[in-house]
Amino acid sequence: MAKITLDSLAHSYLNDPQSPEDFALQELNHDWVDGEAYALLGPSGCGKSTLLNIISGLLIPSHGRVLFDGKDVTHLPTADRNIAQVFQFPVVYDTMTVRENLAFPLRNRKLPQSEIADRVIRVARMIDMEGVLDRRASGLTADAKQKISLGRGMVRDDVNALLFDEPLTVIDPHMKWELRTQLKKLHHDFGHTMIYVTHDQTEALTFADKVVVMYDGRVVQIGTPDELFERPAHTFVGYFIGSPGMNLFDAQIDGTKARIAGTQFDLGTGYALKGGKTKIGVRPEFIRLGHHGLPARVTRVEDVGRHKIVRLDLGGQEMSAIVGEGAAVPDGGTHVQFVEGGVNVYEDDWRVSPERGDAPVAAKTEAA
């Protein structure tokens, strides 16, 4: 187990990168705290696998350093880093049985036979494969093969870190939940540093204490699920997390006043702006329909079961609001108000903190 430090880390797959666009991973400084479980969340192609492979040593970064407990391991081969990693698509050793597959990493580390046997049984129980230990791995389903891959990652208990690169993509939904629970239990029991890569926000928010959100080669926010929800540091986080994502309005901000689509309202505090393009972000959960506030027009209502999603038109800008299942929704003209503390101000897509400090969010949603 170790603290993993990324020091001015950046990576380009090109030999001679010129502009920031040439980098698959933009410069990044970060400490992965020893024993913490992280989720690494971001859309496909944003550089999640690149980052993971740099940590495990499958990829040597073009710039910067990787340190384990302060020791520079940037150029250390994977085998010497003692890291376990599970990949998106199953990898099994075809000619071996399930048991031999699970034992393989331990054999290579030359552990005593009896200990290998114990650990293989333990991990087989976790992935629910005790019954098929003596079958050839090549004849199994993709599901089962991926469970073996997971098992080979989990069987080593002295690793510096456990990395999962979208490991449950090929697993069916029911088993997904079961395996994620097992991973959390593993973390609870052994306290490994874990990084769990996914592009599924539910998976990220339920798995981890800390979620690292990546976008376009950049880490845009690191925070608890609550922080990501209430204070998205970048418009992308607001839009990517939540269902539907955060509403973003082009707005002019002047002192403590904001103007959206010609209507002015009070923000209650000033913002230190530098003259960039400003936007206001409000989550659908923090919008109230009523007789006061900004005039808007209801265009569509979607009933999604536990609540309703109301689509509105606010002076030419689209927005969504979430209201309780039983709430009456006016058709046509209405007014919207933003819940106190639920308003975030963005300048050039990055969040600007209010001068008075963040107010707590008054109430999430009527429905909640």
């Binding site: 499958l58 994977t78 990898v91 090549s138």
Partner: protein, 290 residues
């Protein structure tokens, strides 16, 4: 599910006719010869299985078969490991990968008799680079006279000609292995040998089966190259089955024995290939889970 639709037979009819004319009918004429005797004048007499009995008792044929088996065994034992070794060390992509592929294909494109001629000249002590060099190093090398020199030259020639085939097939097998396998092996701290043994070799098994089959059948029928190079000599040292067969059929015009001989020859190749194939595919099934 089973359907009783016989129309499908019409679809395979053209193939059946083609195969009949190109393989079955010529083969039947051989069968015809093998059970008859002639004293010229195009007059044939029924000979029954006499030629087959003759051939089975013929030391000459057993010797040729022995040489043939030794030859095929040796070249398989060299070409398969060597081909795998070459494939493992070929660049995976980029200019040098294409360059290697072209280079490796060259020997395969050269006609058999030209290969024989090349080596015939290459090995000559007076003007050939190989022969002259060996000779000046004080090595007694003369493939037209020495038994070992002749064998060494024939084997080297075959290895030169055909290792590429094994290498190219093995290379194709290696290229189909996803990167994730190598990455997982690194994570699992597998040694280079373990990577070969548990990832590369199993993934190459299919293509290697084909490579071995092709090389076995082809080497077992080898004719042109040794015929051009040594003419089967010195003595009978490199007289393989085909060479002996041609000597018998065309040199001595013993059509009956030659026909019987070639039928048995054909059967041997077929049986060995079949057994090998069955063994390999059964292994595959066993590995496919119980």
């Amino acid at each position: 599910m089973k359907t009783d639709n016989q129309k499908a037979w019409f679809l395979v009819l053209p193939v059946l006719i083609l195969v009949a004319f190109s393989a079955v009918i010529p083969l039947m004429t051989v069968v015809n010869y093998s059970v008859q005797d002639t004293f010229g004048n195009n007059q044939f007499f029924w000979a029954g299985l006499a030629w087959f009995e003759d051939m089975l008792g013929s030391e000459r044929m057993w010797n040729a078969l022995g040489r043939q088996i030794v030859f095929s065994g040796i070249i398989l034992a060299i070409e398969v490991p060597l081909g795998i070794f070459v494939a493992l060390n070929m660049p995976k992509k980029g200019f040098w990968a294409s360059f290697c592929l072209v280079l490796m294909s060259l020997p395969l494109l050269i006609p058999w008799n030209v290969v024989g001629t090349i080596w015939q000249i290459f090995g000559r002590v007076d003007i050939g680079l190989l022969g002259y060099t060996l000779d000046s190093l004080g090595i007694d090398y003369n493939y037209t006279q020495g038994f070992y020199a002749a064998w060494a030259t024939v084997i080297t020639m075959d290895v030169w000609h055909w290792t590429s085939l094994v290498a190219l097939l093995a290379y194709a097998g290696l290229q189909s292995i996803p990167d994730a396998y190598y990455q997982a092996a690194k994570i699992d701290q597998a040694s280079r040998w373990a990577v070969f043994r548990y990832i590369e070799l199993p993934k190459m098994r299919g293509v290697l089966t084909i490579a071995i089959l092709l090389r076995f059948m082809d080497s077992f029928k080898i004719y042109t190259e040794p015929f051009v190079l040594t003419g089967g000599g010195p003595g009978n040292a490199t007289t393989f089955l085909s060479i002996d067969l041609v000597k018998m059929a065309l040199g001595q015009f013993d059509l009956g024995p030659a026909a019987a001989f070639s039928l048995m020859y054909f059967l041997v190749i077929m049986v060995i290939s079949y057994v090998f194939y069955i063994v390999m595919t059964n292994l595959d099934k066993e590995e496919g889970g119980k």
